[in-house]
Symmetry: C2
Subunit: 132 residues, 2 copies
Amino acid sequence: MALSQRYRMTAQRRVILEELRKVSSHPTADRVYEMVRLRLPRISLGTVYRNLEILSECGMIQKLELGGIQKRFDGNANNHYHVRCIHCDRIKDVPIGPITAIEDALHGKSDYEIIGHRLEFIGVCTQCTKER
Amino acid sequence: MALSQRYRMTAQRRVILEELRKVSSHPTADRVYEMVRLRLPRISLGTVYRNLEILSECGMIQKLELGGIQKRFDGNANNHYHVRCIHCDRIKDVPIGPITAIEDALHGKSDYEIIGHRLEFIGVCTQCTKER
DNA sequence: TTATATGCAAATGATTTGCGTAGTC
DNA sequence: GACTACGCAAATCATTTGCATATAA
């Protein structure tokens, strides 16, 4: 929360960041916990949550807060969109840049001062397409 | 869950629907509970949750599952977008229709079969603009 | 009459937090 | 050495669920 804090690079924080950057699966916090625990068996789930929060605050990772119950985390901090499989909840990056035109569509039509948007695509992943 | 069920119009369900249609505030489940309790003091929170679920399943209301911790409900079942105030979380309808072109931008660029999108605008409401 | 719905309370599940100790800067 | 972070366990908060009873169709 405190943006003026001096953050320290602990082993836990480094490993969480490394593991998250290794995968493209957009894991939940407890999946990250599982992944990290292979290298740091004594790490606690609370530490994972705390660090995911701090890392996303610092802009080193991304916290995805769209559909779904659990939050997902993305080692790629660059702003980009995602597709979520409606059946299995698998999330994949989408290879298109930010569509700024979306906000233009709203110009002068809302009394809110528009500062951004959240967009997520819904679809069916290749695996689920096969299985049905 | 069971789509083949025969739903009954109980007093509780009717009042929840009526109250939700009265407001444009996109309340959380417990706000709906408060609203409904003025007319049905003995209703339980569980009943409110169960009915909000059923009503949105039937397409009579909308469940908003974008940013934020708590789900929000919308008495207007027509598909439309929302703006969320980044400071106070107030949600307002946005007077533009579905932007189908958004999905076209993705054509051929993802191996997911795209079936839709979720979009929410982020902004600052008039009240929060004044207060800052 | 009979399946669906309710009220109540307890359970669940994700996330957060308090606290005493450990480690970084 | 001072302050941030950790591990652990308990707390929180939104939401869901089991169960006995009530009610719509």
